[in-house]
Symmetry: C2
């Protein structure tokens, strides 16, 4: 099997100022074409450490992908290092120079010396054009291994991966077929599910693996098969997947590897229905997630984020009496919020949230982490109380995901 | 200087199913106490690869922190491996067992065999209690190096780091003082700023470093000083920071290392003012970001997310005529949205967005990436047109950050 190491370069990763999202995307893409990412390594902007990482990773993997360290400012040492490492000398790449000039012309900004230096590359590499930025990608071959250096800016790296790296690797390696099937469950923990499907898991052949991927109080189960024959491996994984679906039927949310916001969107689109949200504690996070899907304007009309009680009264028509007697965090309030959203946004379905996500604001009766969620249409409302025990961000994420799951179930039952 | 390596274990990192946020948090915390994270490595759930990573990282660093691989399902091999690696045998930890039982009692769930196994630990480690989960932390010493194994669940790892690792390291190493000062600029690129402060940067002593951290079209500049004497290094970094602030004065947004949503919150709180949002293309992302700050209910009242035009008309009182003649993505529409939000949410300030974030929906007159933003109060509105060139997510983030920066400037000018 072809193996890859991803080396990310930059002090910002080692002091925690930047979260590395590049590696996850690269790993996903490589996995799809049958390249196994064996290791991911992050090192600082330090000559010896980058050099050592190149040495070590070339012992581990056949493909070494490097991101970062190519910006125009002084702390970048990656390019001269690569030049030394592969025994070349720096020259100006005409293609890269033209790219720099084109970009600055388009931006209508003056070019300075630093920008021109971006067009310099070691003469022992193949230059990979960067459609989205001034730093070119560089492809090196050494001792039968492949090294590709790319900028750390996510969309520039993605462009070079999609334009050059991913299309060229399959021809250079005899890549196996990798085939996944994933389903999502809700309502039971990892241990319980593992116990439930123990016999199934033990009977799997060595080339099909089962993984448990817990998140937001839900668990994804993924079957991964590897083999030489695309049709055969897909057939076998699909057969096992059918059995797995029957085994966990009762807890299964969906049998696709798609996020909840996309699943909801598809259901609404299929039934030609619209939705909106009335959010107190989630503060717009549900609306924001729903609208992260392109084309969501086909089924999402809007949201009333009612952090303040007078917004709940004025725009969602929650009664002042309810707010006074049961409080904003109550079944009655979220029920009225759903009705208000359906009427004022003119939607078929609405979801409403109200709770205390922390860290402060709890009382003995309504502790931090307590959240009421309601979903409904014109005729009917379903409510549920949750009690989360995490930090503000995670409590928010859990509320969003579980509220969307409630909405999904409600819509499917009503259809 | 004390150096650390962070090893994250789990196939989910290598197929890109999970983004590693743990390492960034750990690096931040370690950096604060003067431990330099030299390398971050991710490996799969593979015996040899974990073993090799332990060997290699103990050559690189004095402190090796390991997360992941401790869950209750079958693909976890980390604990037996650690037992072998450090030459111990597995025993049941009474403290860990009690913790498992307490957690299941609290959750009111039956304990199964798999859960009890979580209380088994190598007899050569010190058990670190996990307040938030069933898998205990484990502290090993070998050949003068420190190894700590923690669960991969973020809040469980954080609990063990805060309770044990971070308090205990300073006593074991002679840690240097690390002192940072950071400022945020907007309106100029990295290259331009670097040119502007070139002389300043070249004159910095070796123990004070300047870093450029670009994000969302803004650039953070960070000075980092290292030394033995806390007072002396802070004094010197502060003096340099004062000069730096003067040099980039014209582009400086803030001289603190705080996110925009926190800066806005502080300004509103200081002036005892409230805000709300009227969001079309950003779909609630501004509201969601503002409310991610605990206590934001003191100044944030709510939002009207008007994805559909009839919501713009009904809840934000945008005139049907405007929507017909200039369209939803126009200066007139966002100006009216600000007015509508101020009136209907009852707030002092509002921000409004309307645009085409992509990938589809563009026209020759209004191409993908075109966004109008307005900020204002009862008396006055300021508008700006942006033209982004990235993907949907990045176009959204850029709109959110720049809209908040417009609001920040507006509020400060009005006070």
């Amino acid at each position: 099997m072809a193996t890859a190491s991803i080396i990310t370069i930059g002090d910002e990763l080692l002091i925690g100022q930047t979260i590395d999202t590049n590696s996850a995307w690269m790993a996903q893409q490589l996995n799809k074409i049958g390249v196994w990412v064996k290791r991911r390594v992050a090192v600082g902007d330090v000559w010896d450490e980058i050099w050592t990482a190149l040495d070590e990773e070339s012992n581990h993997s056949q493909i070494i992908l490097i991101t970062g360290g190519l910006g125009p400012t002084a702390d970048d040492i990656t390019k001269p290092l690569l030049c030394d490492y592969f025994g070349g000398k720096m020259i100006v790449s005409d293609a890269a120079l033209q790219n720099v000039k084109d970009i600055f012309t388009k931006l209508n900004r003056p070019i300075i010396e630093r920008n021109l230096k971006q067009a310099e590359v070691p003469d022992v590499c193949t230059v990979l054009n960067n459609r989205r930025g001034t730093a070119p990608g560089m492809w090196f071959n050494k001792d039968g291994k492949i090294y590709v250096s790319m900028p750390g800016v996510p969309n520039e790296m993605k462009g070079i991966m999609l334009d050059y790296v991913l299309p060229q690797l399959p021809a250079l390696f005899n890549l196996p077929i990798v085939y996944h099937q994933t389903l999502l469950t809700a309502g039971q923990g990892e241990s319980f599910l593992a116990e439930m499907i123990k016999d199934f898991e033990e009977a799997l052949p060595g080339y099909i693996k089962l993984a448990y991927l817990p998140n937001y109080g839900m668990v994804r189960l993924r079957l991964t098969g590897r083999g030489a024959d695309k049709v055969a491996i897909a057939k076998e994984v699909n057969e096992k997947f059918l059995i797995l679906k029957l085994l966990v039927k009762e807890y299964m949310v969906t049998d696709t590897d798609e996020p909840m916001e996309l699943i909801i969107g598809k259901i609404l689109r299929d039934h030609n229905k619209t939705m909106g949200t009335a959010e107190s504690c989630t503060g717009g996070a549900i609306a924001s997630l729903i609208t992260s899907i392109p084309g969501s304007s086909n089924y999402f009309k809007g949201s009333i984020v009612s952090y303040a009680n007078d917004v709940k009264e004025n725009l969602l028509l929650v009664s002042a009496d309810t707010l006074k007697t049961t409080g904003a965090v109550s079944e009655e309030t979220v029920t009225q919020m759903v009705k208000g959203a359906i009427n004022n946004l003119g939607v078929d379905y609405a979801v409403a949230t109200s709770g205390i996500l922390g860290p402060g604001g709890g009382t003995p009766e309504k502790p931090v982490g307590m959240v009421w969620v309601a979903v409904g249409n014109k005729e009917k409302t379903v409510t549920q109380k949750f009690q989360w025990r995490f930090d503000r961000q995670r409590n928010t994420d859990l509320t969003v995901q579980n509220a969307l799951n409630m909405l999904r179930k409600f819509i499917l039952l009503e259809q």
